[in-house]
């Protein structure tokens, strides 16, 4: 073998090369966990997957000067009023455990 270079000199070469190019010096390839720090963050791209939906209620709250009307909500409230007139409104909330319809039905 012609001119076998001593391993110490090779190690010194690697060390100086790492200091020049500012890379990490890891001759034994020990696991430092640096890969978890080096990898790019995935959070922002994950959050962008779903497009945010336009929320009319939110826009109405943020800009009341626009005087927008939420037609779906108005229709829902109108339906609730109609049901009440027909006598089909929501039942009263049970105050105690025995008052509810389910408890009385079981008996």
């Amino acid at each position: 073998m012609a001119a076998a270079i001593r391993p110490m000199r090779l190690a010194a070469l690697t060390r100086s090369r790492c200091s020049i190019f500012q890379t990490a010096y890891n001759p034994t390839s020990a696991r430092t966990g640096a890969k978890y720090l080096r990898a790019r963050l995935r959070g922002p791209s994950m959050v962008k997957y779903y497009t945010p939906e336009a929320n009319i209620a939110q826009i109405m709250r943020q800009w009341p000067e626009l005087e927008m009307r939420n037609f779906a909500e108005e229709e829902r409230l109108q339906d609730v009023e109609d049901k009440k007139k027909r006598g089909k409104g929501a039942p009263k909330k049970a105050k105690e455990k025995g008052d509810s319809r389910r408890a009385s039905r079981r008996r």
Binding site: G33, L41, V47
Partner: protein, 100 residues
């Protein structure tokens, strides 16, 4: 109103994004073989206390229309059937029927 599973997924994504840096830091300590085993074990125990929505594996691409978990085309966030419906109505920009 999007699907309930989609809402859960949105919640998971937001929590993952909020905790990502912290998680990475703990992972670095727990996986670093040059540190003492006591320190690494402590870091691993701390990692175990994190809630389930902090883990990026809980995030799953879902169809934004139907909430389906399988057959998703990520570029459009749609499952294959919803993709087909929208594409045929020409609601997806640049998508047309292939023929060559």
């Amino acid at each position: 109103m999007p699907n309930a599973r989609v809402l859960r997924d949105i919640k998971a994504r937001n929590i993952v994004k909020a905790n990502e840096v912290l998680r990475r830091a703990y992972l670095y300590v727990a996986r670093n073989e040059t540190l003492s085993p006591q320190v690494r074990h402590q870091a691993q125990l701390q990692l175990n206390t994190f809630g389930k929505y902090t883990r990026p594996t809980t995030v799953k691409n879902r169809c934004a229309e139907s909430g389906r978990g399988r057959g998703i085309i990520s570029e459009f966030a749609l499952c294959r059937y919803q993709f087909r419906l929208k594409a045929l109505k020409l609601e997806l920009p640049g998508v047309r029927k292939a023929s060559w």
